[in-house]
């Protein structure tokens, strides 16, 4: 199965990037999970944490504030003016 290419960026640097199997983020409408093959999407993030599941099953948590999430052909970008790894 194809993997997601995820990057988490904040205003002044790239916080994390790499491959992942799944991304779970909290948008203003609720939590959303993204798997490979997701349709293109732009969503506003509610402040909260973004959970990234790596292909090996490990989990990475990042907190993002004031940002948005864009998905396009398995490229996932979590963009926030403030973001850091928990």
């Amino acid at each position: 199965m194809a993997a997601l290419n995820v990057s988490v960026v904040s205003a002044d640097r790239e916080v994390w990037s790499g491959e992942a199997a799944m991304v779970v983020a909290k948008t203003v409408e609720g939590e959303i999970g993204i798997l490979p093959g997701h349709e293109p999407m732009l969503a506003i993030l509610a402040s909260g944490e973004v959970r990234v599941t790596l292909p090996g099953g490990e989990k990475i948590t990042a907190s993002a504030e004031d940002g948005f999430l864009s998905v396009q052909s398995d490229q996932v970008q979590v963009v926030a003016s403030r973001a850091e790894l928990a």
Binding site: A11, R13, V28, P40, A43, V79, S81
Partner: protein
């Protein structure tokens, strides 16, 4: 020691002192360029991601949004000028101010009123000296701008952008700043932030397949959230560029100042040697003349 010789020695000494200072400033600026450039590079993923998202929305949607639609008549335009807080940077500030003046001239010829937002003491000084009005200014942190500053500026310009034109609001926002091209070149650049121009994508646009985007919660809300962020990131990027360019300009200016001091020292050393030699020659000829006179008197 002759008066002339003493004057030359003083000049040499003062050129040497100046050279020490300019040399130190050159080295400091050189070390800061690296850091400033690293910050520009570090902020690139963010602005690239936002630019991509904005162009996605712009290409997808025919939504009418206040930030994307061009008003029929533009009455007032805002110019944000980014200068530095300190001088000693060659033409850095004057070239950006000149560029802004040209832009203002152009806008006025189109019948628009121009409102200024100033960043950096040099711009504020320029305006105050000429008793010109400006809307708002930010000073003191142009050397290493933080994101908060970009946010403040973005908030201020957006606030006046969203106000009605009859209420003193603006319909257009331009930013003038120096871009860091290389260590030797810094070019003044004008960017129109709002209304949105078709964004030159950083990535090659994939013209074949334009995926249909899903927006959550809906297009308007996403645009509402996205465009201020876009403006912030563009301004932040401009601030960082300008800071890097400032350091490069300082380094260049200080290098030529040091070189110039070197040249002065050499020149004055020659003149001083000349004066010393002339003094010696004169003394010898006085002695010889005196001796001759004594011989002749016998």
């Amino acid at each position: 020691m002759g008066a002339q010789l003493r004057v030359y020695r003083q000049k040499i000494k003062s050129a040497q002192t100046t050279k020490k200072i300019t040399k130190a400033m050159e080295l400091i600026a050189a070390s800061r360029i690296q850091k400033a450039q690293a910050r520009v590079a570090a902020s690139t993923p963010y602005s690239r991601a936002i630019t991509r998202a904005v162009s996605a929305v712009a290409t997808y949607s025919n939504v009418d949004h206040v930030l994307t639609t061009e008003p029929e008549k533009i009455e007032r335009a805002a110019i944000v000028i980014l200068t530095s807080d300190r001088g000693l940077a060659g033409a850095f500030n004057s070239q950006v101010l000149r560029e802004a003046e040209e832009l203002a001239e152009l806008l006025r010829s189109q019948g628009k009123e121009v409102v200024y937002f100033l960043v950096g003491r040099k711009a504020v000084g320029y305006f105050q000296f000429r008793h010109r009005e400006f809307e708002q200014d930010w000073v003191g942190s142009s050397e290493s701008p933080e994101f908060e500053l970009a946010k403040e500026i973005a908030d201020a310009v957006l606030e006046s952008f969203l106000r009605d034109a009859s209420d003193g609001g603006v319909d257009e926002i331009h930013v003038v700043y120096n871009t860091f091209v290389s260590m030797m070149t810094q070019t003044p650049t004008v960017v129109r932030l709002l209304p949105l121009e078709v964004v030159e994508g950083v990535e090659e646009p994939d013209a074949t397949v334009q995926p249909l985007y899903e927006f959550e919660p809906d297009v308007e809300t996403v645009l509402d959230g996205l465009l201020p962020v876009y403006i912030e990131s563009r301004i932040f990027n401009a601030l960082l560029q300008s800071a890097a360019a400032k350091h490069a300009a300082t380094q260049k200016a200080m290098k030529s100042a040091s070189d110039n001091a070197d040249k002065l020292i050499t020149d004055y050393t020659r003149l001083a040697n000349n004066a010393r030699q002339a003094e010696i020659t004169q003394q010898i000829s006085e002695i010889v003349g005196g001796a001759d006179a004594l011989v002749a008197a016998k």
